[in-house]
Symmetry: none
Subunit: 155 residues, 2 copies
């Protein structure tokens, strides 16, 4: 599913996934959704359960003594938050503190939800233009240092 939406976080830090995406999830018999950090930008990534299985398995299989690899594993695996779908169709997910910090979502009540096919992103609306301009310094460094085995992977 594609598209840009503005959705809201309530005081309990809950976010409800827009209905049109939900339909897409149900079509493919997904039962869970996973939220984690985007390693490149101050934003969050949402994966369908099935997508997540692939990605996390790949990442775990990478050998862990390389500091760059470990860093990636920490960021992506170490911050993942798995949520099952609401039985009555609704889809409310709770964003953990650490993730809210990372994506700078605190003290906000409106955030950006971006559909990218299999993957979805959650942004602080103010940061969204980072995507356009090229991101943080960390991104550039990461890009240079990253082993090609990882560069080829899709997050």
């Amino acid at each position: 599913m594609f598209g840009y939406n503005t959705i809201s976080i309530d005081q309990k830090h809950r976010v409800s996934i827009p209905a049109k995406y939900r339909v897409d999830f149900l079509k493919t018999n997904e039962t869970e959704i996973v939220v984690t950090k985007d390693p490149q930008y101050p934003s969050l990534k949402l994966y369908k359960g099935s997508e997540w299985k692939i990605i996390s398995t790949k990442l775990q299989s990478l050998q862990g003594l390389d500091p760059v690899v470990r860093n990636l594993q920490w960021t992506i695996l170490g911050n993942a938050s798995v949520t099952d779908f609401d039985p009555n169709g609704r889809m409310l997910i709770l964003l953990p503190q650490e993730l809210r910090n990372y994506a700078q979502l605190d003290n906000k009540n409106k955030i950006s939800f971006v559909g990218m096919g299999n993957k979805f992103e959650i942004w602080n609306t103010d940061n969204w233009n980072l995507r356009q301009t090229g991101g943080t310094l960390a991104t550039e460094i990461l890009d240079v240092v990253l082993p090609s085995s990882i560069k080829e992977m899709s997050f």
Copy 2:
């Protein structure tokens, strides 16, 4: 199981494993958990009993003439602390002094618990934040010195 949690150590140096991870352990019929030093960073690693069997076997099989290898064996095997699960479901593990020292957990009451799938890590929260923002020189050096037979192993 994945995710980042802040948990507390009590005055008796006990740590209780968050429930969602516990569930995961029970699902795979694990009966014990092993805590040991992380050879690279001032932090601790938790393994499921089954995972630990594999890792320790691998490590023992390495020939001990290389001083780097012996060092690794000492750090990982020599400090392992095995704990059985609480029969009534609770999962309180006691962190031995040596391990607390190593991970710089004394005089702290909050620590970081990081789930990485099969493995789990325990960090002094202050150090964890450092890891996120950058690396230490020691890590890079370790990476150069390490024989490739070890680099290929995953801890």
